[in-house]
């Protein structure tokens, strides 16, 4: 069979389609077809585009959007969001807007409404693009993922889940069923910033920070940058400069500079390494100031 690989914009390959109505049904299918070229279809806004434009192929597609068990949103303790919930639902949750501003801002920055109506957070995570917008805030908020298979289940940190461009630790028979974000403590502040060319664009650089304040001291902090390495990374050396310190303008400037020194951006179609390094510094500074203010801190 001739397989066109370059921007054919049609689905050139034939595949079988399943839309199980229960989680058990989906896990059965994943188990049965784990040795085959099987892919999980959530919103399809990345998967179907890749199948159309770069020749990514699949013999079996399993849609998880018809599974009611994956459509829940639980805001009781922290946040637990099922894998079939579209991004446009998540941005409407009051608790997300009020308590997890970095996640809210990242989702609002993504693509157009028609895409967010289909796309899901697990889709964004499993696609594992270095520019994935929900990934830096999820790492900043110490989010975890529940991976379920017929063999059992496990919970892993988003930070440990992605290993490289398009690479994750998920096993062939596993399904990411929910995203778990811990309760945010009082006097915490988060922020997400992104630089793209136009509104609905992919990020040249994106970053999220989350700070915990105790009086004038930054008790804990996370600084996570995207599009500057093979995956979103924490600027741990920059975090160390802030942790346990009295926060002031000079320290934030120093921290932002450190963050821009520890990343390893590349030149690509969206930007250059040099520009990204400079942006990382400026944006980290802005994000830290914003987050510190949101945590109730003063400068």
């Amino acid at each position: 069979m001739i397989r066109l690989t370059n921007n054919t914009k049609i689905l050139t390959q034939e595949f079988e389609y399943f839309a199980p109505k229960t989680l058990a049904g989906a896990l059965d299918l994943l188990y049965r077809y784990q040795d085959k070229n099987t892919r999980i279809l959530a919103g399809g806004t990345d998967l179907l585009v890749k199948m159309k434009t770069i020749g990514l192929d699949a013999d079996y597609l399993i849609s998880i959007k018809e599974i009611p068990e994956l459509k829940f949103i639980d805001t009781d303790a922290g946040l637990r969001i099922g894998a079939a919930v579209p991004l446009s639902h998540i941005e409407k949750i009051e608790k997300v807007r009020e308590k997890y501003p970095a996640l809210y801002e990242s989702i609002k920055s993504m693509a157009a409404i028609a895409i967010r109506n289909m796309a899901t957070m697990p889709g964004n995570i499993c696609n594992a693009s270095p520019a994935g917008d929900t990934i830096p805030p999820l790492i900043a908020y110490e989010a975890k993922l529940k991976l379920v298979s017929k063999r059992g289940e496990r919970t892993v940190l988003v930070e440990d889940f992605i290993t490289g461009v398009g690479k994750t630790i998920i096993k062939r028979d596993e399904l990411l069923t929910q995203v778990i974000i811990p309760e945010i403590s009082k006097n915490s502040g988060g922020a997400f910033l992104k630089k793209g060319r136009v509104k609905a664009d992919i990020a040249k650089i994106n970053l999220a920070v989350c700070l915990k304040r105790e009086g004038e001291i930054c008790k804990d902090c996370r600084i996570v940058l995207g599009s500057v390495f093979i995956k979103a990374v924490r600027a741990k050396k920059a975090e160390e400069l802030l942790r346990g310190q009295v926060i002031n303008n000079d320290l934030i400037i120093k921290t932002a500079k450190k963050a821009s020194e520890v990343i390893k951006p590349i030149d690509d179609i969206r930007s250059t390494a040099e520009y990204r390094t400079e942006l990382a510094r400026v944006m980290t500074e802005d994000a830290l100031k914003l987050a510190w203010g949101r945590a109730g801190g003063e400068l």
């Binding site: 914009k9 049609i10 689905l11 399809g44 179907l48 849609s63 579209p86 446009s88 028609a114 509104k199």
Partner: protein
Amino acid sequence: MEEYKIDLTVNGEKISTTAKAEESLLKFLRRNGFTEVKCGCEKGECGTCTVILNEKAVKSCITLALQANHKEVWTVKGMEKFELGRKLQKSFVNYGAIQCGFCTPGMIITAKNYLDQNPIPNREEIKKAISGNLCRCTGYKKIVDAIYAVAVENQRSK
């Protein structure tokens, strides 16, 4: 390969037929006579293929036909059945928001779906709402004008 059974409603009309797994909703709709759904970039960028799927605007080129199984689809032709759809239609004509007209089906669908949720947006919000729909003629001003005029009308009649 295998044909799958598919049941859905399009513009309120029930359709029971078959579709191949790899057929996009866009191709499926056009094959079944709904050629008012336009085929542009075919990869989710341009927005002219936008339809409403279970009350949400989606890009039909990157949705599989089978993902619409047992669901409700509305195309631009069905918008005439709604007061808001008719208002937008008139406003687009009044403001000359249609030049070549190729982006118009997606623009009307996106505008209608957005105004259903947020009836009185400002111009900035309208620009964001249509950011997934490309127009190469108007420079967007007339389109934003047309949608904003409906928003102003909504506010008056509130």
